[in-house]
């Protein structure tokens, strides 16, 4: 949703390898939760988002994004990261009054795109199969 800095470090092979491995590990955690419990994929996504928020609060998600680039920024856990980071940055600049205004600052673009394309494709396309 938002890839802050350091995703481009010249050494492309390492970038891609880290994105592949870290992204793969995050989705595999999701798959294991899905297979080993009776939860649905919706539950898995919610768990990952809340985990992303919690890891951001203690300062652990940002280093992961810096390390793995898209590997950490593309899984839905990053949604928790960008939402939390939005709130945090707004609190830093506006004080406690900023608690409500920043939440979609960083994540808003991706949400807007998802809603817009969902609406357009929902109108022009029929479900297949």
């Amino acid at each position: 949703m938002y890839l802050p800095c350091c995703c481009y470090r010249g050494d492309l092979k390492i970038d891609y390898l880290l994105a592949f491995v870290v992204g793969g590990i995050i989705v595999t955690i999701g798959q294991l939760i899905f297979d080993l419990t009776k939860l649905t994929m919706g539950h898995v996504m919610v768990i990952l988002v809340v985990t992303g928020s919690a890891l951001t609060a203690v300062g652990l998600y940002e280093p992961l994004v810096e390390l793995a680039g898209a590997g950490a920024a593309i899984p839905v856990s990053n949604f928790g990261y960008v939402l939390t980071q939005g709130v945090y940055e707004s609190l830093l600049s506006k004080g406690i009054g900023g608690v409500w205004s920043g939440v979609f600052n960083l994540a808003g673009g991706a949400i807007a795109a998802a809603i817009f394309f969902g609406f357009i494709f929902g109108i022009i396309c029929r479900p297949k199969g």
């Binding site: 938002y2 592949f20 870290v22 992204g23 999701g30 919610v46 928020s53 939390t84 969902g118």
Partner: protein, 150 residues
Amino acid sequence: MMAQRTKAQQNYQRIAQKHIPKPPIFRNSCNAFLVGGLICVIAQAINNLFLSRGLSPSEAGAFTAITMVFLGALLTALGLYDKLAKIGGAGSAVPITGFANTIVSAAMDFRSEGYVLGMAAQMYKIAGPVITYGVVSAIIAGVVKWILVH
């Protein structure tokens, strides 16, 4: 009791045991890892492309996310993302393309129930909980981080 089973029963037991499907947890995990990892590699390539065209890292990241949302939406509309999801499981559901997939597929499915209370309401069936829990947890986590840092 065990010892009293006849030979035929024991044979039956042995044959039946062979046909109980093993839970494909390992295979599911491998497939999810490969599909999810590949989606992230594609996103990394798009991000690097934007960066090489001179966009700032934060702009490149935002455009990458929106491009991935568009790709997920398009592949869903074409009926291809569901095929990927059958193989990839969480590997295709957890990336942001999967988030777009939940919105687009629900929008297409519920259009027949109307454009307002059908499509527009039901398209958030899975995305809605993600946004709700995301926002609530983010406000708590954001305040916690703010207090921790200060």
